[in-house]
């Protein structure tokens, strides 16, 4: 291999610039446009055909407001549970050794793989009053299936992996010697945990929790089956959109659907900002 040969393989900048618009580029942009951007634009345009006053009226009618309330409240609750339990799970999986740990680690991803309709029917059955878990709760007067608590259970189920999978790699990378140093300086377990271990994990915990929240807000499949879907009681916003469509109320569905779309865009932005923060933290 000669020197000239080597040089010829690194094309000058302009040629490279042209290559940016090569086959992969073209295919990527075309596919994204057809599958994603065009439908998003269509919904936005559909929403824009409504007058602002009409849009506001449809997006904030009492039923819609109550579904936002229930959706975000319950999703927040589910995300909070996953925030704490997910961090604990990541900690246990990284730091401890115990039998069947590998199985537990693999099981975390189940909600990603299991279709939400399947999750819905099985959660409903297990948490119903005659079910495996529900029958233990009903003597205490706790009903899960067909109540708002059931919505929360479904939302917890589908968002389990996010915090765990976000915290786990960071915890693995964490230098154990810093903890040793803290201990040797006389810090207690709790102090070490709060002051040494937790701070570097916070960006990862927040990213995972936000992702869990976003997923819970949009969830449909498992919730529609476990909830009674009664307005003001346990009806969530995505299901209201579906009901509006079934009633052929396209305008109503569009208005509430647009609100949901905008909220998921904001949440996505938040996740990206958190991830940028995390990279700065690492770097």
């Amino acid at each position: 291999m000669t020197v000239s040969n080597t040089q010829s393989t690194f094309p000058p900048a302009p040629k490279n610039w042209l290559k940016r618009f090569s086959l992969p580029w073209g295919l990527t942009i075309t596919y994204i446009s057809i599958v994603l951007l065009l439908p998003v634009a269509a919904l936005m345009l559909q929403a824009a055909t409504l007058s602002p006053a009409e849009f506001w009226r449809l997006a904030t009618d009492p039923i819609a407001l109550s579904t936002y309330n229930i959706t975000f409240g319950t999703a927040f609750f589910a995300a909070a549970i996953n925030c704490v339990a997910g961090t604990a799970t990541a900690w246990v999986l990284v730091r401890y050794d115990f039998p069947l740990k590998r199985v537990l680690d693999a099981v975390i991803d189940l909600p990603f793989a299991l279709p939400t309709a399947v999750a819905g029917i099985t959660l409903t059955t297990v948490y119903s009053e005659q079910g495996w878990i529900g029958s233990f709760l009903s003597p205490f007067g706790i009903r899960v299936s067909f109540t708002r608590l059931g919505v929360a259970v479904a939302m917890v189920f589908i968002s389990v992996p996010f915090v765990v999978r976000s915290v786990q790699p960071v915890l693995q990378e964490l230098d154990y010697t810093i903890e040793e140093a803290a201990w040797s300086l006389g810090a207690s377990q709790w102090e070490t945990c709060w002051r040494v271990v937790l701070p570097p994990l916070i960006p990862a915990i927040l990213t995972g929790t936000t992702q869990a929240f976003a997923r819970a807000v949009g969830e449909y499949g498992s919730v529609v089956l476990i909830a009674a879907n009664i307005p003001y009681q346990d009806l969530i916003a995505p299901i209201l959109v579906f009901q509006r469509l079934e009633q052929n109320d396209i305008a109503g569905a569009t208005a509430i659907g647009t609100v949901l779309l905008l909220i998921s865009l904001v949440l996505l932005l938040m996740v990206n900002l958190l991830q940028a923060w995390r990279q700065r933290h690492d770097g």
């Binding site: 994603l36 799970t89 590998r102 991803d109 793989a113 099985t122 389990v160 040793e180 396209i250 659907g257």
Partner: protein, 291 residues
């Protein structure tokens, strides 16, 4: 992977704190196991109990039920259309994002992630507002006599949208880690673009790609909310497997619902097993490198 807590003995008062730690450790493990057990394991286990509660015969009766086989073949068709397209797209997008530096790279990455955060119902609604009767392209499609909503094309599009990010998401980190050295070496040896892709790039990303394909397939088979919106849910015509599960359950035929669920859960289980094998392979490779 695991960091052994070996240090407690090394300083004063180690024995006492070690004992406290053991109890804390056991309590924490128990808490995590019961949390995962109540939320994940028991419900998933119940899918299998529910399917076989009345023995093997009703389970197989569901599997040969024509409504079920129709739903299965429609789902398979949607997978057959959506997965290859998503794989080609995912490879292209991963290549563009990992190998090129351009303005808006992060934006492109966020757009690819969008299907993760959009509610499936909203995804379906977006397709309705594009292709529906009153939609953006509604009149055009009507004049051409093409039906999208309430028929297969919309089901395929919904499936494509849901599974879009997986391949790119799995392949990008690997492409970035592998770097460009080998590709450049191949280039200096006179290999063409396709040759480089097939002989150099593809072998190094094959496991990530494989896992991405598995995830896309799992997602495609399990797609539900968006399809529920765009499909008319006609039994034996536009009913996919997940719609079949829901329909059977609502008709108090939970036996059939759980039998169909076993088929879907089996794929979910296979996904996890493949992932585990894939990660074990990576771990062995990492250990070889570190030795």
């Amino acid at each position: 992977m695991t960091v052994e807590p070996k240090s407690t003995q090394s300083f004063a008062g180690g024995v006492k704190s070690h004992k406290g730690k053991e109890w804390g450790k056991i309590a924490l493990i128990m808490a995590v196991v019961s949390y995962l057990g109540l939320v994940l394991l028991l419900p998933t286990l119940y899918v299998f109990i529910g399917a076989f509660s009345r023995g093997i015969a009703p389970f197989f009766a569901t599997l040969i039920d024509p409504d079920f086989t129709q739903a299965l073949s429609l789902t398979a068709l949607a997978v057959a259309v959506a997965v290859p397209l998503n794989v080609v797209f995912g490879l292209c997008a991963a290549w563009v994002i990992a190998r090129r530096r351009f303005r808006g790279r992060t934006l492109l990455l966020s757009i690819i992630d969008l299907p993760f955060s959009i509610s499936p119902i909203v995804a379906g609604l977006m397709l309705v507002s594009l292709y529906g009767r009153n939609g953006l392209l509604g009149s055009v499609l009507q004049s051409l006599d093409i039906k999208v909503i309430f028929s297969f094309p919309a089901i395929a599009l919904a499936t494509m949208m849901g599974g879009m990010p997986f391949v790119a998401r799995e392949v990008i980190p690997i492409l970035e880690e592998v770097g460009t050295q080998e590709e450049e070496a191949a280039k200096t040896l006179g290999a063409g673009e396709w040759q480089i892709f097939w002989r150099v790039t593809l072998p190094s990303i094959r496991w990530g790609l494989f896992y991405g394909i598995i995830l896309t397939t799992a997602r495609a088979m399990g797609e539900y909310g968006a399809i529920a919106v765009v499909s008319s849910n006609l039994i034996g015509r536009t009913q996919t497997l997940t719609l079949y599960v829901e329909g059977a359950y609502r008709n108090y035929d939970s036996q059939s619902a759980f039998a169909a669920s076993v088929v879907l859960a089996g794929l979910a289980g296979a996904t996890l097993v493949i992932k585990e094998l894939f990660e074990r392979r990576i771990r062995i490779k990492d250990e070889e490198v570190s030795q």
